[in-house]
Amino acid sequence: MADFDITSKSMDGIASHGTKVGLARVLGPAHVWALGVGIVLVGEYMGWNFAVGKGGAYAALIACWFAGILYSCVAMIDSEVTSTVAAAGGQYTQAKHIVGPLMAFNVGLYLVFAYTMLEAGNAITLGYLISVAADMTGATQALDQRPFIILSIVFLAWLNYRGVLATLTFNLVITAFAFCAILVLFVASAPWSADSPLAHAELMSGQAALPYGWLGVLAAMHFGLWFYLGIEGTTQAAEEVRSPARSLPFGTLAGIMTLLIAATLTWYICVGFLPWEYLGDGVNGAVAPLFSAAQMTGSNALVIILGFGTLFATLASANGCINDASRAWFSMGRDHYLPQWFGAVHPTYRTPYRSIIFLVPIALIFALGAPLDQVITFSILSGLLGYTFMPINIILFRRKWPLDTIKRGYVHPFHPIPALVLLALCSLTYFAVFLGYGTQLIAMVSFYIVVSLWFHFWRYRFVKRADQFTMPWPKPRGY
């Protein structure tokens, strides 16, 4: 099989990255929506409930809404920058053009780790779900979940290897089903009826209301992010959408609205069915809370629908994560931030196939060896570092290229308020992670400090300077 190195200038044909074989521009706004919501919707099916464990049910709701504000800021900022920097790599490519190479290298790693850990979390949940299904169908021995974890990751990697259109069309269908399953459970719970099995008042009374007081509300912000984590992944498709200026803002903002609805409904259903202590324990209690809530209804039909909803949500998310992590890794390879071997596009399927394959064992290491809350925390921390970069990014973007200097596909309103709100909420979330998971926080930031030094003093020598700046923009102001 012939190799086509996308970094080759001698094979020029498409845009600044120069290759005959570029990524295929085949996606529309619905695919962008499916990519964003597909990655994130699993956050409604698992993981968010650790926020209940950290602060109680009310705290989780407050965290859900504050996290919603945080992600609305992310979506607004991201839509403006991405509608202008329409290239694979998303925030990585933005950082390269706006802040600088070292920031870009770090942002690329945030993306890879956030998505790869999320993919591992999805595979863990899928393994759990299959073991529960085995129990329900009369298995006499505990099912070994590991083959299912491995099979799911390898199957989705193969799907990604074969082509982005098939991958994201698959995501569109299964994401729509998973979203509808939440609506079905909500309607079936009949919250407007006096006979509704939902018992919010009784399950949230007394010490169950705010078991940790207001400190618990702060702490819950840590896992509150899980309701939406990954929506920023829509930008990874920038080089593969037919009309980036239209599709990316539309798909991203429609995605965040969908998720705000889904997150609130999920919270309402789950805390109305399950005691907060059970709901908040995502390891020994409600691993898949919507599925657990469906089991409480006593309806086999709902159990099956929510079982498939959980299954599809984990598959859609893992699928999108492989797509996004591989694009970020590919982009870093293309720019020689990593060995350029990774910057290759498959000559037939036009996918970053080497990056896709390379990240499979890394996802497996964590899916098979780390507990779910740790994997989720790793993912959240990488995402959080990425969100902290975004306000810096948009402020520098507006300063270096004011609105009248380059055309944007979308201009977000009220600048710099969203950037400042995002920065404030990120600071709050660092403190929330510190409460209970401080060691991981310090370990992860220390890792990024070490790799930053490694990149600056060693790896960067292999990077061409001017070739990193590929957008047809004027010189930035102040340089």
Partner: protein, 126 residues
Amino acid sequence: MARYIPPPQSKLGQVIDVIVLLVLSIGALYIPLWMGLAGSAKAPIVVDNPTWESLGQNPTMVERWNQLGFADPASAHDMITARFDYSFTWGAMALMVVVIVGYFALMLRLSEKEYREVIAEKFERR
């Protein structure tokens, strides 16, 4: 500004770079797990001879616990009484702030230095 020509990197060098990055990342994520430092300080608060009442559970909660397969208070005791320990020292918090702020300051400073080279080479050779 003179155009910077990067030195060629051997295949072995590229492989070593990937291995270094992998070891650092897997190490940073796994070492806290292996050392038992990772995870939350969440532990049950022991209640002797627990009853549903002493565990603070009302009849609706008890009904839900039963439905979930917890037939008696003892079986649900650990889950109901488990609490995070949110106590912290100001020193630990100051360390967190210094590490995070220091990281971003370091990164922005070094990035700016690299970025100026990129812009100079990109726009001055036009």
